[in-house]
Structure formats: C-alpha cells, structure tokens
C-alpha cells in the first residue's frame, strides 16, 4: 500500500517561497496529474516527493511513513525525467538493470526483471544499444522501463512526453495509461498540457503560483471549475468569460445585452453584484444546429467575425459586449464573415464567477 500524503508542504529558495503550503492526499494506485502553467511549482512539488529537493516546511508521507529526511534511494520511488536522463555510457539492458545491480541482486534475477520490462515496453530488439542509438520514443520507453523494473511504490513522471512530437505523444499517452493498468501503482504525473491531464488522470490537481487551485476528477474540473483560472486552463478552446452586473434575474453586459442567470446559480447572486459570466464554445451553437435535450437555453444574436471549419464542427468567432467569444457549429455549413446568426446558449452549462476574485459562485 502506498498512498502519498502532503501536509502543508512549503518550499523556499532563500527568502523566495515558491510552494505555499500544499495539502494533497493521493490514494493507493491512484493516477494523479499535477497540471498548471509554467513556473507554478509542479516540478518542485514532485521533486520534493522524490527527495531530490529539500522540504522547507510541512510533511510528506509515503505509505504512512514520513519521508521528509529520507534520501531518494530510501523512498522506493521511480522517476521518469523530461529529458529521460538515461545513462549514456550504458546499454539499454544496463540502464534497465542498474537499480537492481545497485541493490545487489543476483544477475539471473536482474536479467529476468529487465527482460520482463523490455517485453512490456517492446524494447527487446534494442537491449544492446546505447541511448545515443535510440529514437526519442524508444528512449522514452527505456526511461519508463527503468522505472518499472524495480516495482516501486510510487511512480513519478515530470513532463515525460514534452520532448516528443505530437503523434508520438498521443501514442505514448495511451501506453502510459495501459502501463498503469498493467502495473498497478500510485502515479504522480506532472504536465502543463491539459489534454494529457484530462486523458490520463484519475484525479487532476490544478496548481497556480505555488497553490493548489482545484482538485477533482477530469469531469469535475471541466464541468465545475472552481474559478476563472481553471475555467480557462482546462478545456479547449478556453471558456468564454464576459463581465456583467446582476439585474433582475439576468446578467446585464455592456452594450445593453443580457443573459439569464444560469439555473445552478439562481438565489446565489444579489441584485447589482458584479459577476463574470462563463460558458464554453461547445454550449453555444446556432439555433437549428442544437442537439436536443440540452435543457434550458437562452437566445443571442451574434455577428460572426470568423469561421474555422474543423471538419466535424466549425468554430465560430464572434463578439459579446466587446469581448471575443467562441461558439461551435455541429453539422457544419459554410459561414461567411459578417453573417448574423441566432444562437442558443445551454444555460445548464453556464457559470458565474465573482468579478473580483474569479471564484465560482456555485457554492
């Protein structure tokens, strides 16, 4: 059993505090993804779990054992680095078996374990090459193989796919997911790519400026973003956000446009309150192209500034109260710039945030 617990974890470099008291409980065998913009402290947090970075405050426990002062080798963890960090002077086989050799295991056992890992990752044909003679994807696999040979309690990944091209990244993403199903282990995975986070995670932890902003399953953070930051960070294209003022059951925007307060937020806002109205492109579509059963809708007339046909759907760029917004047209047809369309907004999927703090008004 290896659950990972972070209690009020702080990291400072001298006077500069970069991680501000993070609390996180990771269950046994859970796949948790830390996601956030560059510089938010994801790697630092991961490296503290690994023992590569000293903890300035708080407590880290792995499997119920506080590991704050333990060196990496005593934590029974594996880590896959962004640039693979394979040992250039060793063959693939030696790379895979290195940890077991250090642990003083008999050669027969090392061979068996490396062959097993090689089989799982399809590396059998490259065992005698050095990392310099491998492609990016193959190196990535060796790095993962090196991590699984020793059957660690926890796998740590730091942006393992960011050096691969788009196609290979998608492919390796699937492999990592499969790997997790094969070798059931707790995984902490760091990325700044929200698609990776959504597709891989059992639970997503969204970080910003050294704080955790929201924790939840991919669907939870997608459907109920805790604030405008999460709303724009998760999902593509980012959520449309328009500032307005609550007036008589509706939100009034600049230019005398208004939209009804979404059902989930009724009774949670006061007259005259300044709010940010949020909705995703997926939930704004031309009338007549709407799916059935999308619940309560509101109608807006929009002038289309630009249409981006993607094949199965078309992204429509327009403007609401001086803010650029995006909608989607399913069953696409050619749309000319300047065309005026009557659109429907699915109110069940609209959100209200505090205009000052950006926090969701849902709770």
């Amino acid at each position: 059993m290896a659950e990972v617990t972070l209690r009020k974890i702080v990291k400072s470099y001298g006077a500069l505090e970069v991680v501000h008291g993070i609390d996180l409980d990771i269950a046994h065998n859970e796949f948790v993804v830390l996601v956030g913009p560059s510089g938010c402290g994801k790697s630092t947090t991961l490296r503290m779990i690994a023992g590569l970075e000293e903890v300035s405050g708080g407590e880290i426990a792995i499997g119920g054992r506080v590991v704050n002062t333990l060196p990496p080798r005593a934590r029974n963890i594996s880590m896959v680095f962004q640039n693979y960090a394979l040992y250039p002077h060793m063959t693939v086989r030696e790379n895979l078996g290195f940890s077991l050799k250090i642990a003083g295991r008999p050669p027969a056992e090392i061979d068996k374990a490396t062959d097993e890992a090689a089989a799982i990752l399809g590396l059998a044909d490259y065992m005698d090459r050095t990392p310099g003679e491998l492609s990016g994807g193959q190196r990535q696999r060796v790095a993962m193989g090196r991590a699984i040979v020793r059957h660690p309690d926890v796998f740590l990944f730091d942006e393992p796919l960011s050096n691969l091209d788009a196609k290979l990244r998608t492919q390796m993403r699937v492999e990592i997911k499969k790997l997790h199903q094969k070798v059931k282990t707790t995984i902490v995975y760091v990325t700044h790519d929200q698609v990776e986070a959504m597709t891989l995670a059992d639970r997503i932890v969204i970080m910003k400026d050294g704080h955790i902003v929201q924790t939840g399953t991919p669907l939870e953070v997608f459907e109920r973003p805790a604030n405008t930051f999460v709303a724009t960070f998760i999902g593509s294209p980012p959520m449309n956000l328009v500032d307005g003022v609550v007036a008589g059951g509706a939100v009034r925007f600049a230019g005398d446009v208004s939209l009804p307060v979404p059902p989930a937020f009724r009774g949670r806002v006061q007259e005259g309150q300044r709010v940010t109205y949020g909705f995703r492109a997926d939930n704004l579509m031309p009338a007549g192209h709407a799916m059935t059963g999308i619940g309560e809708t509101a109608e807006i007339d929009l002038t289309i500034a630009l249409a981006e046909p993607l094949g199965a759907e078309t992204i429509l760029l327009s403007e609401l109260a001086g803010v650029e917004i995006q909608g989607k047209m399913y069953n696409p047809r050619p749309v000319a710039a300047g065309e005026r369309l009557s659109c429907l907004l699915a109110l069940d999927h609209a959100h209200l945030f505090d205009a000052e703090t950006g926090a969701s008004l849902r709770t």
Binding site: L86, P88, H89, I102, R150
Partner: protein
C-alpha cells in the same frame, strides 16, 4: 582541383608545418646518436656520418667512458614527483571542478576567477619567495617540496578542465542514479565520473607533462640526487668550460620517451578531452 589532389595538397602542407614544428625535436633526437665532435663541427655536418649508441651507454654506465651523472636517481625522482603531484592535482582538481560545476556557494565566481588568475603569474616570479619559504620550513632539496609546488601549479588547470566536463554531464543523471538506489557517492563514481573520464584523463596528462618537463622552479628548489629531476639533471652536462651536447641530447631523448608513450596510450581520451566531445545525450 580534384578531391584527391586537394587531399594530397593538404597533406603536404600539414607535413611541412609539422616538419618545421618538429625540427628542433628531430635535431635533438639525431644529435643523441652522434658524437660531440660531429655536433660541434663548423660548418655543420647535416647528414650524420656515423651513428653511435655511445651517449646512451655512457649515461647508463655501460661503455668505457662512464658519466658521473646519476641518471637513475634523477629518473626516479622525476617519476615519484610527477606521478605523486599528478595524482594529487587530479584528485583535488576533480573535486574542485565537481564542486564548481554542481554546487552554488557564496563567492563562487570570485573563487573561480582567482584560480584562473593564478595561472597568469609566471611560475618563475614565485621562485624567490618560494625559495625563502621552503628553506624556512626545510623543504628545499626534498621531493615533497617539489611535489607541493607542482600540485599547486596543476590544480587550477585541472579544476578548469574538469569543471567544463562535469557541467556537460546533466544533473538529472546523478539524480536518476540516486533514485535508482545510489548514494550520492555511488552516483558520482558510477555515472558522473565515467562520463567525465575523458576530461579527467586529459587533465591528468597535462598535469603529468607539466611536472615532468618543469625546469625553472625545480632548478631553484633542488640541490642533490635527493630531489633533482631529469630536466634539472640536464645541466649536469655543462662543465665549467665544456658542454657535452651529445650526452645532453641523449638524456633529453630519455626524458621525452615516457611522455610520448603516455600520450600515445591515452591519446583517444586526450583528443576527446580537447575537443570537449566527451558526452552525448
């Protein structure tokens, strides 16, 4: 111009340049096999008339005219002094290079600059202060005294060269090794050291050659067979009115040979070291 022609031309030019550079060396080697009389003839005899091994026989005490120069002791002194100071310089320099490459500490860039600036002082400028210091503490005419000086001369360069190599070894590798179960010490020896090996080997060669060939300081600090090194021993061939050029050249050849052998043995590392191609990702 055809490719083959071009190659031949480059080869010819290289040969010419090398010939000019190597000529004095060749002359020394040639003279080692000639008689003093022939060397001193004017006008010069360019093509040797009769080659002889007498000079070497004399040095090693095998011929009829035995030299009074204790070449054996000098050789041993040179060997002990060069090897010891090289080992010390490499161990100290490598530790320093590693620290400069890997760790942050206050005054780091200043310390590095000072180390490098110390190279700008010509060694001979230090000979008088050194001589006075060494005679106070009784290190004049001891191997230890010379070893300390040579180690000090070689450390800055070793620090500089190995620092570059350790900096090329990604930090991740040591971290990965530690996660794989190594202590920091094991991670260094099993991962970082092998990857910086070329640099360390070249630093070692340079240190050895510097110590092996050094003359100026050794000539001040050594007196007798207790500590005199081969280059200093060369001066034994000068008497008050005569210079035994042939013997001197023969001894120079004896000095050159170990250095040449060593350089050939590790030239693979040396080339890698000098071109900084030691590590690839």
């Amino acid at each position: 111009m055809s490719r083959a022609m071009k190659d031949r031309l480059i080869w010819a030019v290289t040969f010419l340049v090398m010939l000019i550079i190597c000529l004095p060396g060749l002359w020394v080697v040639l003279s080692a096999f000639r008689t003093n009389g022939e060397i001193l003839t004017k006008p010069a005899v360019w093509i040797p008339q009769n080659l002889t091994l007498d000079n070497f026989r004399a040095i090693f005490g095998l011929g009829e005219n035995v030299l009074a120069i204790p070449v054996g002791s000098y050789f041993l002194n040179s060997l002990v002094i060069s090897v010891t100071s090289t080992v010390l310089a490499v161990v100290i320099g490598m530790s320093g290079g590693y620290a400069f490459a890997r760790h942050r500490f206050p005054g780091k860039s200043g310390a590095f600059l000072w180390l490098m600036l110390s190279r700008t002082v010509p060694g001979i400028a230090l000979s008088l202060p050194l001589f006075i210091l060494w005679s106070w503490i009784g290190l004049i005419d001891t191997k230890l005294g010379v070893i300390v000086v040579y180690t000090a001369i070689n450390v800055p360069f070793t620090v500089w060269l190995t620092e570059g190599f350790f900096r090329q070894v990604p930090r991740d590798l040591s971290e990965a090794a530690q996660i794989d179960g190594c202590t920091p010490w094991q991670a260094f020896w099993k991962v970082e050291f092998p990857l910086a090996r070329s640099g360390i080997a070249s630093a070692g060669i340079f240190a050895f050659l510097t110590s092996w060939n050094e003359y100026a300081l050794a000539s001040q600090l050594t007196r007798s067979t207790d500590s005199k090194t081969l280059p200093v021993g060369l001066m034994d061939f000068t008497a008050q009115f005569t210079i035994d050029w042939a013997g001197m050249c023969a001894m120079a050849v004896i000095i050159i040979i170990p250095a040449l052998i060593l350089t050939f043995l590790v030239q693979k590392h040396l080339i890698a070291g000098l071109t900084f191609g030691g590590v690839k990702g």
